[in-house]
Amino acid sequence: MNEPLGNEMYTLHINGQDRPVRDAWVGESLLYVLRERLDLPGAKGACEQGECGSCTVLMDGDAVCSCLVMAATAVGSNIVTVEGLIEQNPTMAVTAQAITSQVTDVQQAFIEEGSVQCGFCTPGLIVAVHHLLDKNPDPTELEVKESISGNICRCTGYGRIFAAVEAVVQVRKANS
């Protein structure tokens, strides 16, 4: 916008890189800045209220709804988006049946288990599942359900998503 609205430059630390944000209105959400200013459209907006989880990113290791975080308040935090998972989890992609070297084990399982239909909720769910399994490598069925209950999927009815999480847990167990 042309009017000055507190648009000082600030820098966010995202996916291991410092990303300056210039000419931004101070009221912009982290989701907006990621998508519209930093060319990181993986996080999706679907409710603007933190209800659907489509915009989930990791902030200092916590899964947060980026629609609820003011971007300017995220200065100094370590932010990981769906685009950065592969760099953050470099050893995970090399399973025997890896579809490509560009996906993590969770991403691969989502593809192979049919967890993706329209795919709009998928990036948020991928981040949420990575977050879950980082904290809890062997979750119960109920723990899986609870941990992703903040991520709404309208297409799958969740059955294939549970299957993907289960598949990752089994592969990680076998590999450890």
């Binding site: 459209p41 489509s54 560009q102 239909q117 709404i152 999927c153 969740y158």
Partner: protein, 756 residues
């Protein structure tokens, strides 16, 4: 959770669990949804909407908005160069309201500006003077000739009568009920979004749009823009779910108008709140139904009166209504019927397509009735349904013979054979109780119930509409390219189409070209029709190319083409003396063919509702097991057992995804999802207040796919998208009734319906 497991895949042909070609892009966040588009010099567009359900517009002053720095354009009704209205069946919906607003959220103006926040300020600066009128929100009142007509086309959108067999037939017993179905939202995750690029010179526009039907959109847009259709090019933007809500025009015309006015690319995307006002919903309905039956439970006659609230504009209401009333009997034999259906205009939000399309409403009524009938006859829920189960060759109440494979009895028996879930464990976590993470349940108040639902659903469009599909196949150097305008909305046509090509042509590499309007129509991704219709078109185009390939190989090797066939990835002759790989056989040549698939013709209904109006049918049975906290009225759906008539499974992994996803949506309608209206105003347009099933609400689904190939279907496969969400709703409600003893005549069932 399901019992279906994917096969080991040798080649990704029909029948294999081929993986989505867009899977990697979607899991890594690089897939481009329509809301992800960006362009140099683009502007944002935004919509001013009416806060009133019914009002006269006295004046609109856009000047203050235009004075805001960063605002490039403000458009109202007077800026529409072409047709002032649009609509799928009847063009009765204004691009912008001018004289009246007829529902809350109706567009009045749009703005283009440099930032979404500037747009918000510009919308706030537009001054609209309204004379607020009393909304007409009761369809029973609205349909009376003595009531004020809120639209020049009148308030009664359609009435259709059905009289079949002997209208005076009676049985030993009657059961009847008055049923109410609430307004459900499709709630796709990917909000409405589009980007419009104006042609230099302003004589055309290219719109990238998340839609279900590119060509239908194009026709409506071009008319409003007063441009030839050829000057309006549509490209499918990445679609984040649809479920019917993208069949109507939402922001398409607005976005193009702004692009043409400003000469710049325009990006528009709705917020979630706006989305609740920006697309049509499932029709709320009131259904009275009366079954006459013999003592043994055999249905003699059904009478029904169905009233569908169409809201302010027509959308697909006439077709939804016909679907509802022509499915009155459900998947059961019925020789006599008298039915009247009304689709009515009110000052509620416009209603139109949603997965199940009128049949959801009818099914809640007929399945509730079947349980009443079972009780009256002393039969079980299963036995009453088996006794009346429809078979191939039976007649619908429209007089149409059901020629489709109709394994209703098998659906019921195979569902019944699925083991019941274990009873609740003594050490069950409170999260598994009704109410879940609210941790409110006392297990002594939890009662388990079991209920049934069975349904019939028509496939494809009805009443004489030729919803054909077009596809082109090009084969060169061992690679097949497929071109079609079919909307991939998540259902997996992009997975299926290459499977078809691999099966027919013996190739492994299949390229999908952009879905756009540079080829003929594919029809809508709705009505469970794309596997049949676009699948038929891809299959047809590939078969034509295969004929050309055989001619080419035959000529080259001096073999009669009729002796050639494809085996795996080779062309061979029938006696096995000749073999050449398809890749080798197509080096340096290009074979290309286009095919249109048409389904068989259908007819209009006559004044008695008689006629062969539908193409084909699919069937499914659902058995629900629920736990109910009878004190707090909370429900946990424990298990859904289902056996679905699918014709043929073309991709097991995709198929189970459709079944599980549809079941979750039917669960939503049963116990949580409703757009709550108060005198024409939407009270809960957000995901905080409109509740959707989460992972903790998901039941364990145990599914059986019944494969009896459908002779009419090009691939033997029936559409599988809609049936999963239809009869699961009444099955869940029946299970709650069994647990509580309550009548429960409306969906969604609310806590107060159970515990008060």
């Amino acid at each position: 959770m399901s019992t279906v497991k994917q096969d080991v895949r040798a080649r990704d042909i029909l029948g294999a669990s081929a993986l989505r070609p867009d899977g990697v892009a979607k899991v890594t966040g690089s897939f481009s949804f329509s809301s992800d588009m960006w362009a140099e010099n683009m502007l944002w567009g935004a919509t001013l909407r009416s806060p009133h359900p019914y009002a006269r517009i006295i004046s609109i002053d856009t000047t203050p908005a235009l004075l805001i720095s960063g605002v490039s354009a403000v458009l109202t009704a007077k800026d529409v160069p072409g047709k002032a209205t649009y609509g799928l069946i009847s063009a009765d919906q204004p691009v912008f309201a001018s004289e009246f607003v007829r529902y809350m959220g109706e567009p009045v103006a749009v703005v283009a500006a440099d930032h979404p926040e500037t747009c918000r300020r510009a919308l706030a600066a537009i001054i609209v003077n309204y004379e607020v009128l009393t909304p007409i929100v009761d369809p029973e009142l609205a349909m009376l000739a003595t009531t004020e007509q809120i639209h020049p086309d009148g308030n009664l959108i359609r009435h259709q009568h059905i009289k079949h067999g002997d209208p005076h037939a009676t049985g030993d017993i009657t059961v009847e009920g008055n049923y109410t179905i609430g307004m459900q939202d499709q709630a796709f995750l990917g909000l409405e979004a589009a980007m419009a690029f104006p042609d230099s010179g302003g004589n055309g526009v290219e719109l990238h749009i998340a839609t279900q039907w590119l060509h239908e959109d194009r026709g409506q847009i071009a008319a409003c823009l007063a441009l030839p259709e050829d000057n309006v090019r549509l490209v499918l933007g990445g679609v984040g779910g649809a479920f019917g809500a993208r069949e109507d025009i939402s922001l398409q015309v607005h976005c193009c108008l702004l692009a043409l006015r400003t000469g710049k690319p325009i990006k528009m995307q709705y917020s979630r709140e706006e989305s609740f006002f920006g697309h049509v919903h499932r029709h709320p309905a009131k259904i009275w139904m009366k079954h006459h039956a013999n003592k043994d439970g055999k249905i003699v006659k059904i009478e029904s009166r169905m009233v569908f609230d169409g809201g302010a504009y027509t959308s697909t209401s006439p077709a939804v209504l016909i679907n509802g009333i022509t499915h009155t009997q459900g998947p059961y034999q019925c020789d006599n019927a008298v039915v009247d259906g009304y689709a009515v205009r009110t000052n509620n939000p416009p209603c139109g397509a949603m997965r199940g399309f009128g049949v959801v409403q009818a099914c809640f009524a007929h399945e509730s009735q079947m349980d009443l009938l079972a009780e009256a006859c002393g039969l079980s829920a299963v036995d009453i349904r088996l006794k009346n189960a429809m078979r191939t060759g039976d007649k619908l109440v429209t007089g149409q013979i059901v020629e489709s494979v109709a394994p209703v009895e098998r659906c019921i028996r195979e569902t019944d054979a699925i083991p019941m879930p274990d009873s609740m464990a003594n050490d069950a976590d409170v999260l598994e109780f009704p109410g879940g993470s609210g941790r409110t349940a006392d297990r002594h108040n939890i009662v388990r119930g079991v209920g049934w639902g069975v349904s019939i659903k028509n496939l494809m469009y009805s009443e004489g509409f030729d919803d054909y599909a077009t596809a082109r196949c090009t084969l060169s150097n061992g690679v097949a390219s497929l071109k079609f305008a079919t909307s991939e909305v998540g259902q997996g046509f992009v997975t299926l189409a290459p499977q078809i090509a691999r099966s027919v042509l013996g190739v492994d590499d299949v390229v999908l070209e952009t879905s756009d309007t540079q080829i003929g129509s594919a029809g809508s991704t709705s009505a469970s029709r794309q596997t049949w219709m676009s699948g038929g078109a891809v299959d047809g185009a590939c078969r034509l190319v295969r004929e050309r390939l055989f001619e080419h190989v035959g000529k080259q090797h001096n073999i009669d083409p009729i002796r050639l066939m494809v085996e795996n990835t080779d062309v061979i002759d029938t006696v096995g003396t000749f073999r050449i790989s398809v890749a080798d056989a197509t080096q340096g040549i290009t074979l290309s063919e286009t095919f249109e698939h048409h389904h068989r013709k259908t007819e209009d209904l006559d004044e008695n509702g008689q006629g062969n109006c539908h193409v084909a049918f699919a069937f499914v049975a659902h058995r629900a097991v629920v736990d109910v906290d009878i004190e707090l009225g909370l429900v946990k759906v424990v298990q859904i057992a289902t056996a679905q008539d699918v014709g043929r499974v073309l991709n097991p992994l995709s198929a189970i995804g459709q079944l599980e996803g549809g079941i979750a949506q039917g669960l939503g309608l049963a116990v949580m999802e409703e757009i709550i209206m108060d005198n024409g105003k939407v009270k809960n347009p957000s995901f905080t207040d409109y509740l959707l099933p989460t992972a903790l609400d998901a039941p364990r689904v145990v599914a059986v796919m019944i494969e009896e190939p459908e002779p009419q279907a090009p691939l033997g496969a029936k559409g599988i998208g809609e049936p999963p969400c239809i009869s699961v709703t009444p099955a869940i409600v029946a299970a709650i009734r069994a647990a509580t003893g309550k009548a429960l005549l409306r969906v969604p069932v609310r806590p107060q319906d159970i515990c008060l």
